[in-house]
Symmetry: C2
Subunit: 340 residues, 2 copies
């Protein structure tokens, strides 16, 4: 049988430790997998684009497990009060192909995206950073804030969204969180004025310039999350020219990331190289670092591993008959017409 984790199961699974501790565990799992990056079978995600959205498959595998995620991006869903991003994922045994886990991954995607941002900042931001601007206060913003506070000790979050209702929602959700101070801002300028870390996590599927070069002070770390598919960027190209730019998987980031604005030979460092010590991270206190994050399959793989580990340990979810268990594997016909 294959274990199935639905939305309610995922709530239960995360509630065992709480959101903050879950993100912290996820940072550890992703860090572990990024450190052994060369062990993975890697490919840019496979995208199917339509006029109004994209549906993607994101597979990866190591010698033990194969994982993939289905995820969409449909900004216009928001106009119909629907989610713009939905996902589900599966984990199988590499040696047999047998699927062991099928899981909701909409909530998990928000959690793993925050965990990946935190992991990038753990290696790239200034150690004394405490203040973060959060530009874009949609569905993923709470997870970013909780993760940066829990794992990296950031305390002050300067919030801006073109729709102030989003900021109010965010403040309402996190106003009781001990140690987190939230500041409502009326402009990007106001939000970034104090920031050691600038997180951009907007939803528009356009080449936007959310942040201009003049707004980026020396020593800032840019956590660029929202620019994640062709034609969707958030940073002025000028910022990238003067920054140290880090990505997940270069072939995918050149298509989807902020660096789609740059020449094909624009120098970048893959984050895993910094984590396992083969390449340097931030070169100086005054350098501007950019984590041009688009989301890579290994992050989903790490999250699927964590979900599977917790679900197995606490028996969360239920068994489903996703694949047959015939008495004679060469006799599918009997299985179909004569139930055992």
């Amino acid at each position: 049988m294959t274990r199935f984790v639905d939305i309610e199961d995922m709530r239960q699974l995360v509630s065992l430790s709480g959101v903050a501790k879950f993100i912290s565990q996820l940072v550890d799992y992703i860090e572990h997998d990024f450190r052994r990056w060369p062990e993975f079978d890697k490919t840019p995600r496979i995208a199917s684009h339509s006029d109004i959205g994209v549906i993607e498959l994101m597979p990866t595998a190591d010698a033990e497990l194969y994982g993939f995620k289905y995820v969409n991006g449909h900004p216009q869903n928001a106009f119909h009060n629907q989610l713009t991003v939905m996902a589900f994922g599966a984990l199988a045994k590499t040696a047999t192909g047998y699927p062991v886990l099928l899981s909701e991954f909409t909530l998990a995607t928000a959690l793993r995206t925050a965990a990946t941002s935190v992991l990038g900042a753990k290696y790239l931001m200034r150690k004394d950073a405490r203040q973060m601007a959060v530009i874009g206060n949609g569905a993923q913003s709470e997870f970013q804030i909780i993760g940066f506070h829990e794992v990296l000790g950031l305390t002050d979050f300067w919030l801006y969204d073109v729709d102030s209702a989003a900021t109010e929602k965010l403040m309402g959700n996190l106003n009781a969180c001990h140690g987190i101070r939230l500041h409502f801002c009326r402009s990007v300028e106001e939000a970034v004025a104090q920031a050691d870390v600038i997180t951009t996590i907007t939803a528009d599927k356009t080449n936007a310039t959310i942040i201009s070069s003049a707004q980026v002070k020396p020593g800032v770390h840019l956590n660029a999350v929202g620019g994640d598919c062709p034609g969707k960027t958030e940073l002025a190209a000028d910022i990238l020219h003067h920054a140290e730019v880090y990505v997940e998987f270069t072939p995918q980031s050149r298509i989807e990331g902020e660096i789609q604005q740059m020449p094909a030979d624009f120098a970048v460092t893959e984050l895993w190289e910094v984590i396992n010590g083969t390449r340097p991270g931030r070169s100086s206190v005054a350098a501007v670092t950019v984590f041009d994050s688009v989301g890579f399959a290994i992050e989903d793989f790490s999250a699927l591993r964590l979900i599977n580990d917790i679900a197995t340990r606490h028996n969360i979810g239920r068994d489903i008959a996703l694949v047959p268990s015939p008495k004679n594997p060469r006799d599918l016909y009997s299985l179909l017409v004569r139930p055992e």
Copy 2:
């Protein structure tokens, strides 16, 4: 909610019409989709190879629906009494990314593979063909025979497998089928002697020569099903040199099909071109035709459509909470921590 069709549901779904009529419906669905081939977003399947097997994702989409299948191939599973091929698939709305169906696809893969073979033969075999050799009597062989009998009126099936227990299993399963005559053969030579159609559907992951050129008489149609991944072929290259060769999706077939043995410019015709009338099929009664079938995503898409149509009409399967339905789509956090 997303509809989930498990193994038992699929049994029920197919039993409404029986296997023969289900395959016949599936031929109609695949034919409909092949006829409008240019409307689909197409890509070769994305394979993750290990030393002992492969796991693949097979996506495609039209303006209305997006479909994909997960499928593995692990020949050594047979030594542990496990299935060598397992699959599941999903269907989503292209305009929103919302998943409408998640379905078992192990049984469905056997059914759609037979339906695709039947569709190829419908356009390529001699109209007076009645006799088929079936080389390889494993899990898919019953479905091939039922499909060729039901849709194309073939009556006599000459069966050979290196393991005679497989042939006995096949004969036991289909011996009560009215109008189907089964002939046990002790060699490939014996099986192909009478054959108008030769179906090769063996499981070995090697460059095997199941059929040699001398065994192929003028006018035969070769339904080459088993050669379907790099390093796995069944026909002598010499056969292909003297035959009219038809494939599903050329970029994928050059990697995976019998034509992986041939130069990159070896001439082939895509089956959909014959179906919609843009290219000729069989040139003469004496020509040898080969349908070098590897399995393409549109066939799975057609099967997912059929499964979804029947399941919806007869309310088969059950709703699962695969993706969330939040009151406020920008507030995943509340959905996670404060169940509605």
